[in-house]
Symmetry: C2
Subunit: 224 residues, 2 copies
């Protein structure tokens, strides 16, 4: 097992090196890059569909849609108006890594992009260990999953900059408490931004668009 750990460390440090390269490219080109992570079914794709429909004429948005299997998410995002959407099927791997992202980006002119969104594999554990060169990880959790998730999957919440709590239309159908989930998340990471939304009803989603506008603007300024 020691050998396994040594090899894993080597793979991770190679990933860090490549991620740093990617991040540098993003900054130089003024691209805001986000790595969206969550459990399966928390609503990443629904969030991105809404986002494309609302902002596709305001910003130039590129999306890499990762999945263990199927290109269904990418298809949904193209239908929602995505102009540059790449399916990334891992074929079994539980996470995306910087090498996969680097390969996909070979066909993209970053000068023509304001926002790059990477939709990671639905998994609250493994993707937390792999830097994809993103500006920020955004963790999406949903009301039916329970308010204890930040305590049970601390790595993901420690390494994210924004937590989006989705499916607020299901508040009251379980013992999920918004106060408790916020307290739990902030106990892991006191700098976490938090947004409450319902992709189904649209409630709260305008704040997410505002969050994006602010960070896209900031990224442009840095790159000048």
């Amino acid at each position: 097992m020691t050998k396994e750990i040594r090899i894993e460390k080597k793979v991770l440090s190679e990933n860090e090196r490549l991620a740093a390269e990617l991040r540098n490219k993003m900054v130089l080109n003024g691209v805001l890059s986000l790595n969206i992570v969550s459990s399966p079914g928390a609503g990443k794709t629904s969030l991105l569909e809404k986002t494309l429909r609302a902002l596709k004429d305001e910003f130039r948005i590129a999306i890499i849609a990762g999945d263990v299997q199927t290109e269904n998410d990418a298809k949904r995002l193209i239908e929602a108006g995505g102009k540059w959407v790449r399916p990334l099927v891992t074929g079994g791997s539980c996470h995306l890594d910087a090498r996969m992202i680097s390969r996909e980006l070979k066909n993209l002119d970053l000068k023509k992009v304001d926002l790059l969104i990477i939709e990671n594999v639905g998994n609250l554990v493994c993707p937390s260990s792999y830097d994809l060169g993103e500006y920020m990880k955004v963790v999406v959790i949903s009301v039916p999953e329970g308010d204890d998730k930040p305590l049970k999957y601390p790595g993901m919440f420690k390494r994210s900059g924004l937590m989006i709590v989705n499916k607020t239309d299901l508040l009251g159908t379980s013992d999920f408490s918004m106060d408790v989930v916020k307290k739990n998340a902030l106990s892991m990471n006191q700098d976490l931004d938090i947004l409450e939304i319902s992709c189904r009803t649209g409630e709260g989603i305008e704040a997410w668009y505002e969050w994006l506008r602010k960070h896209i603007k900031r990224t442009k300024k840095k790159s000048v």
Copy 2:
């Protein structure tokens, strides 16, 4: 990366060997062993709480409660009347493996057990690759996760013997279709048993108890 794959194969084959040993022990002692897998928050622990409350006087039940972090699940299961409940905190690892189970079982006299339930880490990807010596994997999915999950995480559904669809009290709050999830799951694995339950209302849960009774009885017969 080739080296990483070789090492991974070695680790997996060592795991297979140990899992076979564990399975043999279970069969000889007439213990039905189940490996419960799901996304985070699908309701594994709620299901086990209900099961303990209903069957703790009928069967001798042992539970290993795996989690990346916190012993909260194990505490809930002890409160529900579990007499032999072991928390197994992986401290970061995204799955349980046969070595961890073997270590926990050192303190358990299998002759005094009818049913061993292993609650895996909430993750629909990695736990599918690790045989824990169980008789069967039971995959729990919940209505809010969406009916496409069997297509997106095929490994887990191919390797499970029973799919439990939980949170049926939330049917109608999204576009989840019970027919579609069944069709998708059976397209991956035509031999899958399927149960529909709501841990919240108790609807359908009696069929799960019956399923357990049948398989515990069968296991006893095999061991005679």
